[in-house]
């Protein structure tokens, strides 16, 4: 029994050791200690990772576990939640033939004391979203509008358990009828009688319900494992068009450029996080001179 416990303990230690991310070199590039009586007071440190080419990183985030200045004050902001992956804008600007540059990530801390002269130490992990590491990272669907009324078919979507149903005009009309009928039922149960008053009330409510704008592509997205990181269009000229998601009604949403609607020959590109394309590395920076 004792031997079994020792074996289990060693096994636990081994698992815990393998779960530790590898450490990575981190070089401080820029420091911005923004001290204000108004909003957005913060210490922002931009850190370059010399071993990671910027072009391979689509998004990143830094999870700081400890940060302290040379007065001993902690710089961790207990009120801030876990940071989200932020797009790497410099990565997308890289052209082939140009000299490859390392990726830069940013970490946000509380303002150190004015008496502090250095950030003594910051420890944490940097998470890098690198779609090239997994063939199932990106689903690129040509002429995606042809899927109107159907689920978009792509093996990367299936592999990640993601379903994107493009709703047709008929689907939206049908949904609107269902919603109106549900309201009608509720009102009648509350004592309303069939007639002009009830219909006017329902019509008035429907003026603000499930309204699809011209630039909207209405969708129903199922993403149980929260894999979707980014959705974008690629237009006829091959240019990426940034897409925003908005909710229309309950589980029905819309993707939109806030501008022109997508063309019939445009592509839909969905970037997804997987266990293979999310890399975590431990880092530590020390003795950072404060401005």
């Amino acid at each position: 029994m004792k031997n079994l416990l020792i074996v289990l303990s060693l096994l636990g230690a081994a698992i815990s050791m393998t779960a530790q991310p590898k450490s990575i070199e981190a070089v401080v590039q820029q420091i911005n200690d923004r001290r204000t009586s108004g909003s957005f007071a913060q210490l922002l440190i931009a850190v370059q990772l010399p071993g990671v080419p910027s072009s391979q990183v689509v998004a990143s985030r830094v999870l700081v576990t400890a940060a302290v200045d040379d007065t001993g004050a902690s710089l961790l902001d207990a009120e801030s939640g876990e940071p989200a992956l932020e797009p790497n804008s410099r990565g997308s600007m890289f052209d082939e033939g140009e000299k490859e540059t390392p990726v830069t990530v940013a970490l946000t801390l509380k303002n150190p004391s004015r008496k502090a002269t250095k950030v003594k130490e910051v420890r944490g992990e940097v998470e890098l979203f690198m779609p090239a590491k997994d063939p199932n990272s990106v689903a690129e669907v040509a002429k995606f509008l042809s899927f109107s009324g159907k689920s978009v078919d792509h093996k990367a979507l299936k592999s990640n358990g993601v379903e994107i149903l493009l709703l047709s005009k008929a689907d939206i009309e049908s949904e609107r009828k269902k919603i109106a009928e549900a309201h009608r039922k509720e009102y009648k149960e509350a004592g309303y009688e069939d007639g002009e008053d009830l219909e006017n009330t329902i019509a008035s409510m429907m003026e603000y319900t499930l309204i699809v704008e011209e630039s909207d592509v209405p969708v129903r997205i199922k993403d149980p494992h929260k894999r979707i990181q980014e959705i974008e269009y690629v237009d006829s000229a091959g240019e990426v068009q940034r897409v925003h998601a908005r909710n229309l009604h309950e589980d029905i949403g819309a993707i939109t450029t806030w501008g022109d609607p997508p063309g019939a020959d445009w592509k839909l590109r969905v970037k997804m996080k997987t266990s293979r394309n999310l890399e975590r590395h431990a880092f530590v920076i020390r003795d950072v001179e404060l401005p």
Partner: protein
């Protein structure tokens, strides 16, 4: 954090005016941001948003703060040392607050002392502050005729598109200008990198002058003339200033070109209304304040 100070008039004439009305101006530090940066070319700054209030401001169209002295409690001088004075800022913008930018104080500093003047611009106090020039756009490429402008030594010329294009061509950055910039930069102690950046910026700005859109009012003059002008409006058929979503000015050396783009093209016989920063329309009140650094 907020510091409220009643301005103390120092000059006798100002004191009399101040006391005669029994009113003052209150300066409130609305927001202070010490933006401290370590990066190659970037410099930090101490940015203040000041709220001005008081009876003297009731008829004011604009205000500005001229800093004469600013230093932190470690003795660091925070004034920028350039001769350029900030523009008057319209009271209708940013809730009447005035922005002020100084150099970064020392990290170990805890407070900053600022001495200077609040300048108030109230055109209603001087009948000569508003000049209306009828049919101002009928004689392009000829200086506007106005006794008031002449008396103030202000010369403004409405430009034709052809003259404007010719002036832009004259403004192109030449090799001689680049050599002069290099020499000036070296004399001022700028690094090679800073000089090259300035030259690149000048070249980029030179290429930004686009052909004017239809209905754009173009005015040329000496920088010293525009320095005496608060605002130029194009008047519509109703005699009121036209809505101008775009306006700007570009200065090279001593010459300035102003572009005013009304929402609708102005009538061929449109009038211009020029609001001048005359001595009688301005009031300068000394102040002194101490603020705590965040």
């Amino acid at each position: 954090m907020r510091t409220v100070l009643r301005l103390i008039p120092l000059g006798l004439s100002l004191s009399l005016a101040f006391l005669a009305f029994g009113q003052g101006v209150v300066v409130e530090v609305d927001d202070v941001t010490d933006n401290r940066v370590t990066a190659e070319m970037l410099r930090g700054s101490l940015d203040l948003r000041l709220r001005l209030s008081g009876a003297e401001l009731e008829d004011a169209t604009a205000a500005r703060v001229i800093v004469k002295e600013a230093r932190d409690d470690r003795g660091t001088v925070l004034t920028k040392g350039d001769a350029n004075q900030p523009d008057f800022q319209g009271r209708e913008y940013n809730a009447g607050t005035v922005m002020l930018s100084l150099l970064s104080p020392a990290r170990g500093a805890s407070s900053v002392l600022i001495k200077g003047n609040v300048e108030i611009f109230a055109p209603s106090r001087d009948p000569n502050a508003m000049v209306r020039i009828d049919k101002a756009l009928t004689k392009l490429d000829t200086p506007l005729a106005s006794k008031t402008l002449q008396a103030a030594k202000i010369e403004l010329t409405p430009l034709s598109a052809a003259r404007y294009e010719a002036m832009l061509k004259d403004r192109e950055v030449t090799e001689e200008m680049i050599a002069a910039m290099r020499a000036e930069g070296k004399k001022a102690g700028a690094s090679e990198k800073e000089i090259e950046l300035a030259i690149g910026l000048a070249q980029a700005l030179g290429g930004m002058d686009a052909p004017p859109r239809e209905g754009t009012v173009l005015l040329a003059g000496k920088r010293s003339s525009f320095d005496q002008i608060f605002r130029i409006d194009v008047l519509g058929a109703d005699g009121e200033p036209m809505d101008t979503p775009e306006r700007g000015s570009s200065t090279r050396g001593y010459d300035t070109i102003m572009t005013i783009v009304p929402r609708e093209p102005p009538a061929a016989d449109a009038a211009l209304q020029i609001t001048l920063l005359t001595a009688k329309s301005r009031l300068s009140i000394p102040f002194e304040l101490t603020l705590e650094l965040p």
